[in-house]
Amino acid sequence: MTILDVQGLGISFGGVVAVDDVSFTVAPGEVFSIIGPNGAGKTTLFNLVTGIYHADRGRVRLAGADVTGVAPHLLAGRGLVRTFQNLQIFFRMSALENVMVGNHLAERTSLLSDLFGFPSVARQNRATRRRALDLLERVGLARYADVAAGGLPYGVLKRLEIARALAANPKVLLLDEPAAGCNAVETEAIDALIGEITRAGIAVVLIEHDMKLVMRISDRVLVLAQGRRLAEGQPRTVRNDPSVIAAYLGEHGAREADRAYG
């Protein structure tokens, strides 16, 4: 079964082909990782899939429906949710409110009831708040609930983004370098969290530079280089692919991956 189906996606910026004919599919509950050297087009691929960029070529299907060119907020409504490589946090809001925004799609109020403060709004706020607190608990950030997000450390914000994304009830969750800049303990927490997410049947598409993490948790790995697909398969296969080793992992990376397998 396939939840996300990407076929022949491509885009150019001023004549430079950033992503070229990339295809892949992801199944529910699967961890699908996208790796590749810096500038390989990983984040651009995310931006294409999530509707931030308009693809020059190719299609994206979500749960069987063609969603190519659909606006980001509508994609979120269909269950395609992401986090960002460069944090996109609502810095002026509390951690709790950040996650509450993630629940926006589930909120049933109107502009008029919000203006006039009908009782339904207070009810809705309580429900959203409860849900957001649960999610903060799940990612281990409950104690930061009322702290302004602008004052929180980087590693915490990475998990806050995941909590916000989960609040939107994703079917497919795209995580862009969730462990970047995190210490070993935080990386472990993210590892465990991803496991938990996939057990709930959510498909995770992961961009990550931490090879240990990628090799350990991925079901399948797609390797990009210069915007093109270099290899795809199980971590073990990809790791032994000579072209991948040459283009990306290099000596050092291959050793590190070996260690991860132990």
Binding site: A71, H73, A76, V81, I89, F91, D114, F116, G117, V121
Partner: protein, 316 residues
């Protein structure tokens, strides 16, 4: 403790506002002061509208006085040329502001930053120009008189009456603004202020939320403009002018961007200050400019957030 609550909670903000509103008539030495206070309430109402646009949603508007002008001329033109009741004219003017904001906002809110600033500035200038040029309807640059407001047969006149009418309008405006702030809509607006891309990623329809904020902000300004015209009994195109737009922005920022109390404090500052400076005569403008600079340089986050920080630091 009470002070801290007044700065942080919704109820505290409203109670503080009511307390000040009750206090002013007791200490005002003459009706002149009541009129100045009524002006503060009116401009605070307009600034609150801008707070929703700029403070919550983070969208710059350098033409907000345009809506002030539309609302003001609605209550001048309605009774005079269309034989409408002033109160009905006020309602229609507010509606017109919302409609114009919808039509203008739909295309221009796609612009960002300085491009949005110049587009809104252009809108304000065009409104002021139309008001100054269509003399047959608007009386041209000299403006036009405004019929007295009567509410169900009761003529609204006198400084104290206007004080309470405007205070009531502001209180209602503050209540609604506070409602929005803590609602799903308010969260969506404040979210897109910080990151449109992340807000959209969370399912927020960024374009329609911005438009909603712009429309609400316009209706606030329109009602404020109508009250201004009705109280003064005379209206000129300057109401919609660039300087007024700038003053509204200055109120919102000097008071503290995004804070309801801040909008009121900022309005008080910029309404009372020129009154106090008139004794300086030709030095008035220089001192006003200097004070705006000094406040922005030394209190860049605005009066109320700075006070709030001090109070909270002391409380903890």
């Amino acid at each position: 403790m009470m002070l801290a609550a007044a700065f942080t909670s919704r109820r505290g903000t409203l109670l503080l506002l009511v307390a000040v509103m009750l206090l002013v008539p007791l200490v005002a030495p003459s009706s002149f002061y009541l009129r100045v206070a009524a002006l503060v309430w009116i401009f605070a109402l307009a600034a609150l509208g801008l707070t929703i646009v700029m403070g919550y949603a983070g969208q710059v508007s350098l033409g907000h006085a345009g809506f002030l002008g539309i609302g003001a001329y609605a209550v001048a033109i309605g009774p005079r040329h269309l034989a409408l009741d002033p109160l009905l004219s006020l309602a229609l003017g507010a509606l017109l502001c919302g409609l114009v904001a919808y039509l203008v906002g739909k295309p221009i809110l796609k612009l960002k930053g300085y491009y949005l600033a110049i587009a809104t500035l252009g809108f304000g200038l065009i409104v002021a120009l139309v008001l100054a040029s269509e003399s047959a309807v608007t009386g041209g640059p000299d403006g036009m008189p405004v019929a007295r407001l009567s509410l169900f047969g009761w003529r609204v006149t006198g400084a104290l009456t206007w004080y309470w009418v405007t205070a009531g309008a502001l209180l209602l405006g503050a209540l609604l603004a506070l409602n929005v702030e803590a609602s799903p809509t308010g969260r969506a607006l404040r979210a897109l202020h910080d990151s449109e891309i992340a807000a959209a990623g969370a399912g927020v329809d960024v374009a329609s939320k911005k438009l909603a904020a712009f429309v609400i902000g316009a209706v606030y300004a329109g009602i404020a403009g109508a009250l201004l015209a009705l109280m003064n009994g005379l209206i000129t195109p300057e109401t919609a002018g660039f300087m007024h737009s700038i003053e509204l922005v200055a109120m919102v920022i000097i008071g503290g961007l995004g804070s309801v109390t801040g909008a009121v404090v900022g309005a008080a500052f910029l309404v009372v200050l020129p009154q106090a400076l008139t004794s300086l005569q030709e030095y008035e403008q220089a001192v006003l400019g200097l004070l705006i600079m000094v406040f922005m340089i030394f209190l860049p986050s605005g009066i109320v957030p700075t006070l709030r920080r001090l109070v909270l630091e002391r409380a903890s």
